[in-house]
């Protein structure tokens, strides 16, 4: 019973660190770690030495000092006496705004172009191919500049709207398309029941409530259909749920429209969508839309032809085949590359610098950096910001991706 002895204890030799697979991985990792630490230490000591030689220091105090410059597009209150930190926040919000707008537009464009590329209409197919290839193969920076130039050169200046015999006029007396931007009527709540942004929160709350109620309504219809085979018509009820509270709220809060008007040098009143925002927004959307179109096409083509045939044999029309059978399946293939396209939009929005759109690269990484000369601090903060954005977008999208993933049992 006790004849089994332990294998002879091999004494540890130094060469085992390299030749014994048990220890080798430790050796490598140890070396890697040492290398990494010494690299960091080396760079750090260089930094300290260089800064000391130049008499500089690393300090984030400048963030609290007044920025001193103005920003044309600000989603929160800001003036030239606000701090650099607040200027950065304004920039962050502008980045998020343009990224969001571009993501939505790019998705719509991309899905449309991707589906149309597979259309049986020869001309449309070819046009979409031209669109996709033209935009995919030219740098986005060139597109941004070209679209900005189109904006400036083609649209009339506000001056053209002035005088007795203006060469340009407003569309429907509500929208003014100028090379400074597009002016649209802005809703205003005059009753004063809620203050400022409170109005918008109320509207938002009502919309969210409507969303939940319609979903409940649809689910109820599903249950009825399941039980009786007859589906009650939900369309009118849903429309009512969406619009009745909205209209009522607007009436209660005294919604009026503030129309843009030519006053002095510029249009006043209404909302301004600035030329730089439009150029960046459309350039990013059209450019990324071409990539999304390719992803969508690949996704659709990845669905086996049998699915289309099966759906067709059930008597579905081509439009419904696409909507009910192909797209839901293709979505699983499309979403992962779509996430990286959204990330690309966010990162490419940093090219705002080429058209003077005041995003975070324009404020913190641009004027603040120029004016304070604090290059290291600004660039580090800038990278940190983009990193946080990227990581959060991919986290959110991964959650969504997991939710729609094929659940194999």
């Amino acid at each position: 019973m006790t004849t089994m002895t332990d294998p002879p204890q091999e004494s540890f030799r130094l060469s085992m660190l390299l030749n014994d697979t048990r220890y080798r991985s430790y050796t490598f990792q140890f070396i890697a770690l040492i290398a990494l630490i010494s690299l960091i230490a080396y760079l750090g000591s260089n930094l300290v030495q260089n800064l000391r030689a130049a008499g500089l220091n690393i300090s984030y105090e400048f963030l609290g000092e007044p920025a001193g410059y103005d920003i044309n597009q600000r989603l929160i209150e800001y003036d030239s006496q606000s701090s650099h930190w607040r200027a950065s926040i304004v920039g962050i919000l502008n980045t998020l705004l343009v990224a969001f707008l571009a993501c939505v537009t790019a998705t719509i464009l991309g899905v449309a172009a991707g589906v149309l590329r597979l259309s049986n209409n020869w001309l449309v197919r070819k046009l979409m191919a031209v669109y996709v290839e033209a935009f995919r193969n030219v740098p986005v920076l060139i597109w941004i500049i070209i679209i900005f130039t189109i904006m400036t050169a083609v649209l009339p200046g506000p001056r053209a709207f002035r005088g007795d015999d203006p060469t340009a006029s407003m569309v429907l007396d509500m929208f003014a398309f100028t090379n400074r931007g597009v002016y649209v009527p802005a809703p205003e709540f005059t009753s004063g029941i809620f203050q400022g942004a409170g109005n918008w929160l109320v509207i938002l709350a009502s919309l969210v409530a409507s969303l939940f109620i319609t979903r409940w309504n649809v689910r109820r219809a599903d249950q009825v259909q399941e039980a009786t085979g007859q589906r009650p018509n939900t369309l009118w009820a849903n429309l009512a749920i969406w619009f009745v509270p909205l209209v009522a709220l607007c009436w209660i809060m005294g919604l009026t429209w503030n129309y843009p008007e030519l006053k002095g040098f510029n249009f006043a009143g209404g909302w301004t969508i600035r030329g730089s925002l439009i150029a960046l927004w459309f350039a990013l959307a059209i450019y990324t839309g071409a990539f999304i179109a390719e992803n969508v096409r690949a996704g659709i083509q990845a669905i086996s032809k049998g699915q289309t045939e099966a759906a067709a044999s059930l008597g579905l029309r081509p439009g419904r085949i696409m909507k009910l059978v192909i797209l839901p399946q293709a979505l699983r293939v499309i979403i992962p590359p779509l996430i990286s396209q959204y990330l690309n939009i966010t990162k490419n929005s940093s090219l705002a610098i080429a058209v003077g759109y005041m995003d975070i690269t324009g404020t913190l990484g641009g004027i603040t950096l120029n004016q304070t000369g604090r290059a290291i601090e600004c660039v580090l903060l800038l990278m940190l910001f983009y990193l946080i954005i990227s990581l959060s977008i991919s986290a959110v999208m991964n959650i969504y991706n997991n939710a729609v993933k094929l659940k194999e049992r």
Binding site: L18, N19, S25, F28, Q29, A32, L33, L36, L43, N46, L47, Q49, N50, L51, A53, L116, S119, N120, N121, W122, L123, V124, L127, E133, A134, R136, N137, V138, P139, V140, L141, I142, W143, I145, I146, T149, A153, L343, K347, N348, S350, L351, I353, A354, T361, G365, L369, A375, I376, V379, L380, L382, M383, Y386, L387, S390, L391
Partner: protein, 435 residues
């Protein structure tokens, strides 16, 4: 007889085949094609009409400008005078500044043949890699030599410098193969040592006899590179450099050594999380602080470092996809043959994984090539930088936008479209599954 009776009893029967009739007009030729491809349904018809209108408007607005263009004048004013108010492009800026657009404004004009030759040779060098099935593998020797030839051609100086570096590599390879039986690590160390000695020699000789020396070309500073050439240099150098780094990062990320894995993960995710432009800011305004005091090296080298880091993170992800796509059996097969890690990777895993990842790598390469235009933001005069800087700022050509950016777009389009068509061809070529 029977014939006669049948003729009598039965009604008319045609005895010979009718000649084949033309299909109805709506079912043949252009009309049929149009009906099937353009007007098969109402929605389709609407789309077709909309498309035709779009194309018409684009043509109407651009054709006079294109056809009426002025190709020969000295400045935009002269151009406007020639046009006399008519619509027309001022393409003279392209003919006048063509060399600047291609080579930047500081590359010596009498040396333009050097980058041009390097560019032509690039195709010869890339061909055996791109069409590896059709060309003899001996041509790969030229591919190996190409970087040295290109370096010598573009930067000039004595040929001894690249030659010594080349010798260093050959020595390193020799040392490696000689000592390989003693283990991968020892062989690698010996190879590095051999190469380092030669590089040291190369750097001392290179810095010593820069102008004179054996087979010397007029040296050109890196900061004199510009125009489309700079985009090409950055694109090719960074892509080729980032492939080995990308492989290393991908392997590191797949590794089961936690520390190495996490170093790679953090690096890759960090790089992929920030825009290239911030990395270029780092290259331009921050990197200098992290180098030993007194060290300065060219902006172009700093930019190459940052772009290489950028693209290697993306390529690492592509290759990781390739590694993950390999069946586990391949890894196990390699293990069961008793191959160690380095051998297994070198001989079994990587050749297959890389083959799968080639289309992805090409895509990254195209994206990277386009992104090289961002260097214009940090005051380098690449194609876009040349346009936005010296050309548009000059009094002669101030205000010529469409022509210049159109030309830039076309240049990039030709290159990128070419590469992506190649990538699609390769994808079909490599497709071994028959769906």
């Amino acid at each position: 007889m029977t014939d006669a009776t049948s003729q009598r009893t039965e009604p008319f029967v045609r005895m010979d085949m009718l000649p084949e009739q033309e299909p109805p007009a709506t079912q043949r030729g252009v009309v049929k094609w149009a009906r099937e491809n353009l007007f098969s349904s109402t929605a389709n018809s609407v789309l077709t009409v909309a498309a035709i209108v779009t194309v018409y408007y684009i043509l109407v607005s651009s054709m006079p400008w294109l056809l009426n263009g002025v190709w020969n004048s000295a400045s935009i004013r002269e151009c406007r005078e020639i046009l006399e108010g008519a619509t027309g492009g001022c393409f003279a800026v392209l003919t006048e500044r063509w060399n600047q657009l291609l080579f930047g404004f500081k590359y010596p004009p009498d040396q333009y043949w050097r980058p041009t030759l390097a560019f032509v040779l690039l195709f010869v060098a890339a061909a055996p890699v791109m069409f590896f099935k059709y060309l003899p593998s001996k041509m790969l020797i030229f591919t190996g030599l190409y970087p040295f030839i290109a370096f010598w051609l573009i930067w000039g100086g004595s040929i001894l410098t690249p030659l010594l570096v080349l010798v260093g590599f050959v020595l390193a390879a020799q040392a490696f193969t000689r000592l390989e039986h003693k283990g991968f690590a020892i062989a690698a160390l010996a190879a590095i040592a051999a190469a380092a000695v030669m590089f040291w020699l190369a750097s001392t000789i290179g810095s010593g006899g820069g102008s004179g020396g054996f087979l010397s070309l007029e040296p050109v500073q890196s900061r004199d590179m510009g125009g489309f050439m700079l985009n090409m240099i950055l694109g090719t150098v960074c892509v080729s450099l980032s492939i080995p780094f990308g492989i290393a990062l991908a392997l590191g990320r797949q590794s089961d050594m936690p520390i190495i894995k996490w170093i790679c993960v953090v690096f890759i995710e960090f790089i992929r999380g920030v825009p290239l432009i911030t990395l270029l800011f780092v290259a331009n305004v921050v990197l200098a602080y992290f180098l030993p005091p007194g060290t300065t090296f060219d902006l172009i080298v700093r930019v190459i470092i940052m772009i290489t880091a950028f693209s290697s993170a993306y390529i690492a992800e592509v290759i990781r996809g390739g590694l993950a796509a390999l069946p586990k059996g391949q890894y196990e097969a390699a293990d069961s043959l008793g191959l160690d890690y380095a051998q297994a990777m070198r001989l079994i895993i990587l050749p297959q994984a890389l083959k799968i990842s080639i289309p992805g790598i090409v895509n990254v390469a195209v994206g990277l090539f386009k992104d090289t235009t961002l260097v214009s933001v940090i005051s380098m005069f690449d194609l876009v930088g040349m346009i936005r800087g010296p050309i548009l700022a000059s009094t002669e050509w101030n205000g010529v936008y469409w022509e210049l950016f159109g030309a830039a777009a076309i240049l990039f389009f030709v290159v990128c479209y070419g590469i992506s068509q190649y990538s699609q061809w390769l994808e079909r070529e490599l497709a071994t599954d028959h769906r």
